[in-house]
C-alpha cells in the first residue's frame, strides 16, 4: 500500500516537549482523524508535516518525498487549512484563489475554472467578487478551504475544519472531503467533534502529551481500549475510548 505520510521519531519542544518521538503512518486514499485533548501536540505535528514548524528531529515523508530535504517538492503535494482561515480581508474570494493558484503555479485558465467550480460547490458564487472583510467566520473558512483545494492536493491536512460552520456548511464540507477521498486524495483532519471522526474517518489516531497512544479503525481502537481494561470485547463509542485512553496517558 502506498503511504501518503510517514512520520518517524518526530520531536519538537518549545518551553516543554510538544511532540516526542512520534511515529505515524497515513495510507494513500484514506481519511485519517488525529484526535487528542487540548495541548496534545496535534497542531504542532501537523505544522511540522506541512513544513511550517521546524522539527527538532525526526523524519517526514510525503508520498515518498523527504519533506525536510525537499520541502518544495513535498509542499507541492499538500494543502494545509488551519482553524483560523488564512485569507486576506481586502481580497475577494476570486482574487484570493488567483493568488493561491499562482503560488502553486497552476495554469491560469485551469485555475480560474477550478476557482469558479469550487466557489459554486461551496455556495460562494454570489460572493465571489466581494471582499472577504464582511464575511462571517464560516464563509471565511469556506474561502480558505477553496484555497486549500485549488491546486488539487494529493494530501489535504485540515485543523478543525468544521469550526464556525453551520450545520448545512458542515455537511457540505464533510461531503466534499469524502468526495476527495473517493477520488483518491488523502485527508488528515483534527477535530474535537468525535462523532465526525467516528462517522468519517477510515482510521483514527489518538495523541496525548505529544505521543501517539493508539491508532487504527474504530473497531481496532475498541479492541485496544478493551485490552487496556482487561476486556478484549469491550464496546463503547469513540468518546468512551478516547476518554479512557487519554485518561490513562495523563
Amino acid at each position: 500500500m502506498t503511504e501518503a505520510l510517514i512520520v518517524r521519531s518526530l520531536s519538537k519542544a518549545f518551553a516543554k516537549p510538544a511532540v516526542s518521538d512520534l511515529d505515524l503512518t497515513v495510507h494513500a486514499g484514506e481519511l485519517y482523524a488525529l484526535l487528542g485533548p487540548n495541548g496534545a501536540g496535534k497542531t504542532t505535528t501537523l505544522r511540522m508535516v506541512a513544513g511550517l514548524t521546524q522539527p527538532d528531529r525526526g523524519e517526514v515523508s510525503i508520498f515518498g518525498v523527504d519533506a525536510r530535504k525537499e520541502p518544495a517538492a513535498a509542499k507541492a503535494l499538500l494543502a494545509w487549512a488551519p482553524d483560523e482561515a488564512m485569507i486576506y480581508d481586502k481580497l475577494t474570494p476570486l482574487e484570493y484563489l488567483e493568488f493561491v493558484a499562482g503560488l502553486w503555479n497552476i495554469e491560469p485558465t485551469t485555475a480560474k475554472a477550478r476557482a469558479e467550480d469550487l466557489l459554486s460547490t461551496l455556495g460562494l458564487t454570489a460572493e465571489a467578487r466581494r471582499r472577504c472583510e464582511g464575511f462571517s467566520r464560516g464563509m471565511k473558512q469556506k474561502v480558505a478551504l477553496a484555497g486549500a483545494l485549488i491546486h488539487d492536493p494529493k494530501l489535504l491536512i485540515l485543523d478543525e475544519p468544521l469550526t464556525g460552520l453551520d450545520a448545512a456548511a458542515a455537511r457540505l464540507v464533510k461531503d466534499m472531503l469524502r468526495a476527495r477521498v473517493e477520488a483518491g486524495a488523502t485527508v488528515i483532519l483534527t477535530t474535537h467533534i468525535l462523532e465526525v471522526a467516528e462517522r468519517m474517518a477510515d482510521r483514527i489516531g489518538i495523541i496525548a502529551g505529544g505521543r501517539l497512544l493508539a491508532e487504527g479503525t474504530l473497531d481496532e481502537l475498541r479492541g485496544k481500549a478493551g485490552e487496556a481494561v482487561g476486556n478484549a470485547s469491550s464496546g463503547g463509542t469513540l468518546e468512551d475510548i478516547f476518554l479512557q485512553l487519554t485518561a490513562e496517558a495523563t
Partner: protein
C-alpha cells in the same frame, strides 16, 4: 480603574485612555518603561527650556499688537488642524473598528454616555501631545510672575474640544455621503491632507512661484514690521485668551464646549446607528462580468495581490499621499530651477526627491513584506522565498516609480543629465530601502503601520542613514561632482553589505522572532 465607580463616566474614560495609551505604546521595541524614560528625558529638557524662558520673560509682558495677534492666531490654527487630523481619523476608527463598541452598546450603559466618553477620549488623546509640552514649557513662566498665562492651557482644552466636535461631525457627514466603509478611507486621507495643510500653506509662495526662501511666516513678519498687517476682527481672541483675559477665554471655551456637545450629544443616537450599520455592511457592490484572467505564476500572482492590497489600505494611502504632498513643493522648485538655473542649483531638490523615494519605498516594503497577513500560506507553498520577495519588492517600487515620473520627467525635459542622475539616484535609494526592508523584515500587522519603525531600531536607522547617503550621492552627481558622489555611495554600499542577510539568515531571524 479601581479609583472610580464602575460604569461611571470617569471609569469609562479611564478605560478609554488606558486603551489609547496601550495602543500608542504597542509595536514599540522594548517595554513601556523604556518609552516612559524617553518621555521623562524629553520632559526634563522641555522643563529646563521653560525655566530659561521663564527667567528671560520675567517682568515682561506680551504686547497685544498685530504681529503677536497673527502669530498666536496662526499657531492656534496649526494646533487646531493637527488636532482635527487626529480626531477625524480617530472618529472614523470609532465608527469602523467597532469590536469594543459592540460590547459597550450591549451593556446596560446608556449609548449616549458611551459615545460621550468616547468623544471625550478622542479629545484627551488629541490634547495630550500639546498640553503636556505646554505645561512643561510654561509652568516656570507662570510661577515666575505670569499666572495669567495658564490661560494657554484652557485655550488648548477648548481647541481639543472644538477639534473633537468637528472631527465627529465630519465623520458623520462622510458616513451619510459615502457609507461606513469608505468613510474610514476618506477620513484617513482627509486627516493626512489636513495635517499637511499648514506645510503646504507655509510653502504657498514656493508653489506660486515667488522667491523660495520667503515663507508665509516670513512674509507676515515683514508686513507687520512695515505696518501693513491688519488682523481680521476677533483674530485677537486667541492671544487675549492665552494671556488669561476672562471674556475671550470664556468665549473660546464656550465655542469648544458647544461644538463638542453638539457632536457628542445631539448626534449621539445617530452616531450609534452609524456604528451599528457598519456591521455586515457591504464594502461595495460586487463586480459583475467575467473578470480578468488569473495571473500566471507565483511572481505575477503575488505582485498583483500586493498591488491590490496596497490600493485598498486606507492608512497606507493616506501616508503615501502625505509624502506626495511633501514632494509637491519640491517638484515645483525643481521645475522652476531646471528651466533657468545651472545644474548645481538642482542638487538639493534632487536629493530631496531621492530621499522621499527611499522613504516611500521603505514604508511600502514594510507593508508588503513584514505586514504579510498570511505568512503561513506563503511558507506552505512550494514557491521559493526569493520569488516572493522579488514580487513584493517590485510591488513596493511600482508606486515609487509612479511618484518619480513627474519630477524626473520635468528635470529630464530641461536638463537631461540632471534628470538621469536624479532617476538613477532615486531608483537606487528606493531599491536600497526596499532591500533593507526585505533583509531586516520582522512580522508586524498592517494596523501598526505608523509604528513600524519602532519594531526594528537597527533596520529603521539603517534605512534612514543609507537613504541619506544615497540622496547625498544623487545631489553631488546632479551638481556634476561625480568623484565626490562616489564617497557617500561607497559608504552606503558598505552599510548595505553590513545589513544584508541571506535567505537562511532571514528565515532564522523570523523563526527566532516567532519563538520570542
Amino acid at each position: 480603574m479601581a479609583l472610580f465607580k464602575p460604569a461611571s463616566t470617569a471609569w469609562l474614560l479611564a478605560h478609554e485612555l488606558r486603551l489609547a495609551w496601550r495602543g500608542a505604546m504597542s509595536g514599540r521595541k522594548g517595554s513601556a518603561v523604556g518609552s516612559l524614560i524617553a518621555l521623562a528625558v524629553a520632559g526634563v529638557a522641555l522643563l529646563a527650556l521653560g525655566l530659561l524662558l521663564g527667567l528671560g520673560l520675567r517682568g515682561r509682558e506680551i504686547p497685544i499688537q498685530p504681529l503677536t495677534i497673527v502669530i498666536v492666531a496662526l499657531a492656534l490654527a496649526v494646533i487646531l488642524t493637527l488636532m482635527l487630523s487626529t480626531t477625524l481619523a480617530g472618529a472614523a476608527d470609532a465608527l469602523y473598528v467597532r469590536g469594543d463598541l459592540d460590547l459597550l452598546f450591549s451593556s446596560p450603559l446608556s449609548p449616549r454616555k458611551v459615545l460621550f466618553v468616547r468623544a471625550l477620549g478622542l479629545g484627551v488623546s488629541a490634547l495630550f501631545w500639546f498640553l503636556i509640552p505646554a505645561v512643561l514649557l510654561l509652568t516656570p513662566s507662570i510661577v515666575l510672575g505670569h499666572p495669567a498665562w495658564a490661560g494657554v492651557f484652557v485655550v488648548l482644552i477648548a481647541a481639543a474640544l472644538t477639534a473633537t466636535g468637528v472631527g465627529l461631525l465630519l465623520a458623520m457627514v462622510l458616513f451619510a455621503l459615502i457609507g461606513p466603509r469608505r468613510t474610514r478611507t476618506v477620513a484617513q486621507i482627509m486627516a493626512a491632507l489636513i495635517g499637511a495643510a499648514f506645510f503646504l500653506g507655509s510653502q504657498y509662495r514656493t508653489l506660486m512661484g515667488d522667491k523660495a526662501s520667503e515663507s508665509l511666516f516670513a512674509r507676515i513678519a515683514l508686513d507687520a514690521r512695515e505696518g501693513r498687517l491688519q488682523p481680521p476682527p476677533l483674530a485677537d481672541l486667541p492671544l487675549r485668551a492665552a494671556l488669561g483675559q476672562p471674556l475671550p477665554l470664556l468665549a473660546l471655551v464656550a465655542v469648544g464646549v458647544a461644538i463638542f456637545l453638539l457632536a457628542a450629544w445631539t448626534l449621539g443616537r445617530r452616531f450609534a446607528d452609524a456604528t451599528a450599520a457598519t456591521q455586515g455592511a457591504e464594502t461595495r457592490k460586487a463586480a459583475v462580468g467575467p473578470g480578468r484572467a488569473f495571473a500566471a505564476g507565483a511572481f505575477r500572482a503575488t505582485l498583483r495581490k500586493e498591488l491590490r492590497l496596497m490600493g485598498r489600505d486606507a492608512a497606507l494611502l493616506s501616508q503615501v499621499l502625505l509624502r506626495v504632498l511633501y514632494m509637491l513643493p519640491l517638484a515645483l522648485v525643481l521645475a522652476r530651477n531646471a528651466a533657468d538655473q545651472p545644474a548645481w542649483m538642482l542638487a538639493g531638490g534632487a536629493a530631496g526627491v531621492a530621499f522621499l523615494a527611499g522613504q516611500v519605498a521603505g514604508s511600502l516594503i514594510w507593508i508588503t513584506v513584514s505586514a504579510e497577513d498570511t505568512p503561513d500560506l506563503l511558507a506552505l507553498s512550494p514557491t521559493p522565498v526569493s520569488v516572493l520577495n522579488r514580487a513584493k519588492l517590485t510591488a513596493a517600487l511600482i508606486p515609487v516609480a509612479l511618484l518619480l515620473v513627474v519630477p524626473v520627467a520635468i528635470l529630464a525635459w530641461f536638463q537631461p543629465l540632471a534628470g538621469f542622475w536624479t532617476a538613477l539616484g532615486s531608483g537606487l535609494t528606493a531599491w536600497a530601502a526596499g532591500m533593507i526592508g526585505v533583509w531586516r523584515q520582522k512580522p508586524g500587522k498592517r494596523a501598526d503601520f505608523r509604528r513600524r519603525r519602532g519594531s526594528s531600531f537597527l533596520a529603521a536607522l539603517g534605512e534612514v542613514v543609507v537613504t541619506m547617503l544615497l540622496s547625498a550621492a544623487t545631489a553631488l552627481a546632479v551638481a556634476g561632482w561625480l568623484t565626490w558622489a562616489a564617497l557617500p555611495l561607497i559608504v552606503a554600499v558598505a552599510l548595505l553589505m553590513a545589513l544584508r542577510r541571506t535567505e537562511e539568515q532571514i528565515a532564522a531571524a523570523l523563526r527566532a522572532a516567532a519563538v520570542g
